[in-house]
Symmetry: C2
């Protein structure tokens, strides 16, 4: 008789979200101060009458960044922004970060100074303190992990699981540009590797390159909500692409949604480069990721408030769950939107 | 004329603490809520009437652990303990952690389940919630970063910079055992690599191996302080060895110190293995590290309280700065203690 083989499961079978769910399912809750654990942009912790939000994110060399075309200063800046974006997505304000750095011996003190210049510059811009961290060597490359804390009043928090059918779906800025910036940088790297005298052709697409290398967390949007006395019914930041994020909101809220292709904001440079690369701009917007824009929903009664928000587009509507999550194409056809994410495994 | 060369500095010239100081010197403070930033076991953040403490620590494969002899379950457990130990060293209680994991494709779902079993087991034992994290792939190996949050009342906090001449120097548990456990595991690995049929000889030194692979953060000591209504004048946890930690306390407090060799607690197995390895047990205690015991100072008036604390030894005295930081050997001679740390670069 054949001996039974022990079966091992590749992490790709579960994907990032599936894997986190799988590993943390059924964990006990011991602390009354834990209001929200895993499953939103940040954890929510009660501290007396205050509310603390906390999040963490890592950037790994060779996975999230390529130092061939990523200046260390921009890398430091981006590592902070990725975390601050998660705090803003809770409608909270970031207050402190901790920086953990693992580096191989190829990095000199001068290189780390430049990296820290980027980290400090991001903190200065957003009024955030660097309060801790640790530094260690690594056998190869660099890994930069940042944890961020923020504060807000509990009634101001915006979660992912509180959208309601009828709500308007809104997004800040424009989408797909960071992804296209990355494609451009990758192409120029290939050109450079095959001809070391080649000069990169980036001027025409400076906006896209900037979106990839130096994203900006949308504090201005949160400030504007506050001034307009507007509170989204749900919110998430766009790190994995519009498709993935609207899926999170709908799955967690128990709703469906429709997004209108024609209303999704796409920058003219993104349209142009997508055409050059024979890519569909809406696909870049749906699945590209790294936009660090805010995707939020607004109650119908707030339509007049939302309509006049600067740099915000209304792109669709939350529907009952049985309607599914769909894209209404410019040609008038409906397409089912599929969840994305876990691009790095 | 010779062209001036741009000089690059190797990180080893500064060491871990020098490098962190160098990179974070003169950073701005924007948030009134930041009570203590870099430079203690954990950051201290005000939140209304409450106080939050926050810390972060990473374990990198090939630097901090070797999977040849480190079971994944123990690795997960230890990664949590290292962080909780920093929270207890502030005389605070840990409440939440976030887990960031970067892994190469060699890790299966089943392997990660075992790792998480260790993480969950540590959290259960200390009543701590896992509230977030992120998971990503890495080109090679594994890196595990944990951030921990804790809470306490502000007047209960114990810092590193508040020791006073005349204070008693105290330590929990025993020292040097984790370092000797590591030496033993490394030796057995060499034996195994040269003869795959060899069986590891660990039984005689099970205490030492346990101290290396499965350290326990000293919640019991903090509980005892609370029951005895005792507040240390300063405290730090022992991660880099007694020498390094007493140096931190003295440098930051502006004091000297004397430690009596004969009073430093060393386990009998540690004494024995040190003898086998031709090592000086006190050197292992001073410079070995990874003990995760608590080193604290007590006002003279608290002598009677401290004397009756379980598993706590009084090992020396804080002195004025001009006395230096010295070891009084069992032979009656004084030796200057040198700072350690940064073993991983």
């Amino acid at each position: 008789m054949a001996q039974e083989e022990k079966k091992f499961t590749d992490v790709n079978e579960l994907g990032e979200f599936g894997l986190i769910d799988h590993l943390t399912r059924g964990i006990d809750r011991f602390q009354a101060s834990t209001i929200k654990g895993i499953g939103d942009d940040a954890a929510v912790i009660r501290s007396g009458r205050n509310t603390i939000v906390a999040t963490t994110d890592s950037l790994v060399e060779g996975i999230h960044f390529d130092l061939t075309y990523t200046p260390l200063k921009h890398l430091g800046y981006k590592a902070v922004m990725v975390n601050l974006s998660d705090i803003y997505a809770m409608n909270a304000y970031p207050t402190q970060i901790m920086v953990s750095l693992a580096i191989s011996s190829k990095y000199t003190v001068e290189a780390l100074e430049v990296l820290y210049d980027g980290i400090k510059s991001a903190c200065q811009r957003h009024g955030v303190d660097i309060v801790g961290g640790d530094m260690t060597s690594a056998p190869r490359g660099m890994m930069l992990n940042i944890s961020a804390l923020g504060q807000t009043r509990e009634e101001q928090l915006t979660y992912r699981n509180t959208a309601q059918p009828g709500d308007l779906i809104c997004v800040s800025g424009d989408l797909g540009a960071a992804y296209l910036g990355l494609q451009l940088l990758e192409r120029e790297k290939e050109v450079y590797l095959s001809d070391k005298k080649a000069q990169p052709q980036l001027d025409e697409y400076n906006y896209l390159v900037g979106r990839q290398l130096k994203p900006e967390a949308r504090k201005d949007i949160i400030d504007m909500f506050d001034q307009a006395e507007f509170l989204p019914t749900s919110m998430i930041d766009i790190s994995d692409g519009l498709a993935s994020e609207i899926f999170h909101i709908c799955t967690q809220s128990g709703t469906g949604a429709v997004i209108e292709e024609a209303k999704v904001p796409i920058h003219s440079q993104a349209e142009k480069l997508a055409f050059d690369f024979k890519l569909d701009p809406i696909t870049c917007a749906l699945s590209g990721g790294e936009d660090y824009e805010l995707l939020f929903t607004a109650a119908e009664k707030d339509l007049e408030k939302v309509r006049y928000l600067t740099d915000v587009a209304i792109i669709g509507k939350i529907l009952p769950a049985d309607q599914g999550v769909r894209l209404l194409s410019s040609g008038g056809r409906y397409h089912t939107i599929k969840a994305q994410g876990w691009k790095h495994f």
